[in-house]
Symmetry: C2
Subunit: 137 residues, 2 copies
DNA sequence: CTAATTCCTAGTAAATCTATAGAATTTACA
DNA sequence: TGTAAATTCTATAGATTTACTAGGAATTAG
């Protein structure tokens, strides 16, 4: 399941994607428009900025705006930024790989192979859902 | 990601699936065989029993055994028993549906449609992985 | 200079997760 | 009928994570 943070991030991106080109959105505007707690959203927008999904203008009349095409941002990327691995266990993850601590030494995790198959399918599906595809809906 | 509980449950089912027909496995045997904390495993086996994946024989020489075909038990079912919904949000879930609390009233969640597509693909993949397919690996 | 905004660092309450403890119950069998 | 070996049940503890909130520093426009 998605964390609230990831869900809010998606909704914030959706909000930004719906605005006119060149429009800069203040945090409070996004918070009210997308129904997200404002102080929590502040953190999320900073995370989105660090993840290079959005950029900001500071000071008076500042705010946030998308710096990537909404056709290009996939659910997989947002998931990875906020909720980490898409695979069901670290040992089956592409981007967050860690060996299982509880697997017998030197032996491969008995679940790994199956979980990699699931990861591949889930990833493919998540890469198919973009911010643009959600806006259009 | 899977919880430890779900991971241990899968490993326990795998262990049981590898035993001879009619063999009854004690908790301690499964715990050592699959490298799972014994007391934690006790709870997990009771959950698996309540979920009708296994049954038990009490008392001396008691233990646990599968009551469903290993070809029939899918990762999707185990996930649902221990970790709940497969969908990324409750509003996109088949078995654990709940409306989004933060979506504007009467309006549908903007994420729901995309998340249902992902759920369908993930579910299909998870239904394709059985205990038997993991054992064979 | 001031108002409005982003940016940064903490902190906190509640929930959840990962177990562990201890005792009650059930059963096989000598 | 007593005992050992097992499941079953209830409670709880500690750690971690989640979902925020607080407060102020830094930045910018006019």
């Amino acid at each position: 399941m998605l964390s609230h943070k990831a869900k809010y991030a998606l909704k914030a991106l959706l909000y930004l994607a719906e605005q006119d080109e060149n429009h800069i959105s203040r945090t409070i505007e996004i918070a009210e428009g997308a129904n997200i707690p404002k102080k929590f959203l502040e953190q999320i927008l900073l995370d989105l900025k660090r993840g290079r999904f959005v950029s900001s203008k500071q000071g008076k009349f500042g705010g946030y705006y998308l710096i990537r095409s909404k056709n290009d941002i996939t659910l997989a990327e947002v998931h990875r930024l906020f909720d980490g691995a898409i695979a069901l266990l670290p040992c089956a993850s592409l981007n967050f790989y860690e060996p299982c601590s509880d697997c017998k030494t030197e032996e491969e995790c008995s679940l790994r192979h199956g979980l990699m198959i699931i990861r591949d399918e889930t990833l493919k599906a998540m890469q198919g859902i973009t911010i643009a595809s959600l806006v259009k809906k």
